[in-house]
């Protein structure tokens, strides 16, 4: 298995956040620097992912963290 990795170049001035995900061939998704927004996206991709559900905390309307 050859995982594909997206590597971002963090720049605090230009970007507020940076995160990385690794999608495995067996369907597992690993994340590094998991932000609330990314957690919300991953939860939507797999609503049955219970650990992700607990990490997906962002209320996108208010942009506040619950």
């Amino acid at each position: 298995m050859k995982p594909k990795i997206h590597v971002s170049e963090p720049n605090l001035s230009q970007a507020d956040t940076s995160e990385e995900i690794l999608i495995l061939t067996d369907g597992r998704i690993l994340a590094h620097n998991l932000t609330p927004d990314l957690a919300a996206v991953l939860r939507e991709l797999n609503p049955n992912d219970e650990p992700m559900r607990r990490r997906a905390l962002t209320d996108r309307k208010s942009r506040k963290i619950r």
Partner: protein, 289 residues
């Protein structure tokens, strides 16, 4: 000498920000003969010298953002990552930033403290200081503690490869220590992280941290290292810190230079995760997510 100048038990009940402010000068002084980690370089970082970690006198930050991938009890946390490290883990997920103390932006205490305070106002439950290894930038980390709200829940995320001097400067400043126990033996530590005397200082730090505040011991499960690393780590915790929270992280991916080591070229399999959980349960560890 610095250890003797700090009365660790005198911290309790005092305003953490004041205690931190009082220690900033001592922490900077420690850089003039740096012995913050067991490499014991003794270089004068204030005069432009650098030792094993190559860090200078000024810390840099490569990431500062709200994240939710840490332990559930801590998230959302505003995580501030200093560049540079005193270890060389081949599989480091932030290798480019962690191995190079020149990455990121020069630390600005006002700016970072303002961002952290804003995140707390927006609902972040904690502020986490990490790296790389934040210990090598102790003066700035302590400055930051002095600038953060007194009631903020502060988390110190460390590789635990630090000295008594560093621990003494940190005493009483953090509510939670998240400390890695990465390797179950010195051989794996030397081969994968270029550290010869790993076990003793790390175990000392874990024992000390459990008395200083809340401790979460983290272990990143590595492919092929359940028996040589996780099992001895689990056994040590069960024997020495039986009630401590343990965070077994199973999201290993072959980052940075992991591919130089054949067994680290893939991820951890579901079967390995199951076996690792069984090991944790067999030692009756307090496993947390």
């Amino acid at each position: 000498m610095i250890c003797e100048m700090i009365n660790e038990s005198a911290v309790r009940g005092r305003d953490r920000r004041m205690v931190a402010q009082e220690r900033v000068a001592l922490a900077y002084e420690s850089l003039s003969h740096c012995r913050l980690c067991p490499h014991d370089c003794g270089v004068n970082r204030l005069a432009g010298e650098s030792g094993w970690c190559r860090a200078g006198a000024r810390g840099r930050v490569f990431s500062a953002q709200v994240v939710v991938g840490e332990e559930l009890d801590l998230i959302p946390t505003f995580a501030i990552a200093f560049s540079g490290c005193d270890m060389r883990c081949a599989f480091c997920i932030t290798g480019a930033d962690s191995w190079n103390p020149q990455r990121g932006e020069v630390f600005d205490v006002r700016s970072i403290a303002a961002k952290a305070s804003m995140a707390l106002d927006d609902g972040a439950r904690s502020v986490m200081i990490l790296g790389g290894e934040p210990t090598i930038h102790l003066p700035e980390a302590i400055q930051l503690v002095a600038a953060l709200p007194a009631d903020a829940r502060l988390v110190w995320k460390t590789n635990a490869y630090v000295t008594a001097q560093a621990r003494s400067l940190l005493a009483g400043l953090f509510d939670v220590w998240v400390a890695d126990f990465k390797f179950g033996n010195d051989k794996c530590a030397e081969r994968l992280a270029a550290i010869k005397d790993y076990q003793q200082p790390v175990q000392q730090t874990l024992g000390w941290a459990s008395a200083d505040g809340e401790l979460i011991v983290r272990h990143l499960l590595m492919p092929g290292h359940t028996d040589c690393c996780w099992e001895p780590v689990a056994r040590w915790i069960a024997t020495n810190l039986p009630s401590t929270k343990v965070s077994l992280r199973c999201g290993f991916w072959p980052a940075w230079k992991a591919r130089e080591h054949p067994e680290l070229r893939g991820t951890v399999t579901p079967a390995e995760i199951q076996r690792a959980m069984d090991v944790g349960r067999s030692y009756d560890l307090h496993l947390i997510e």
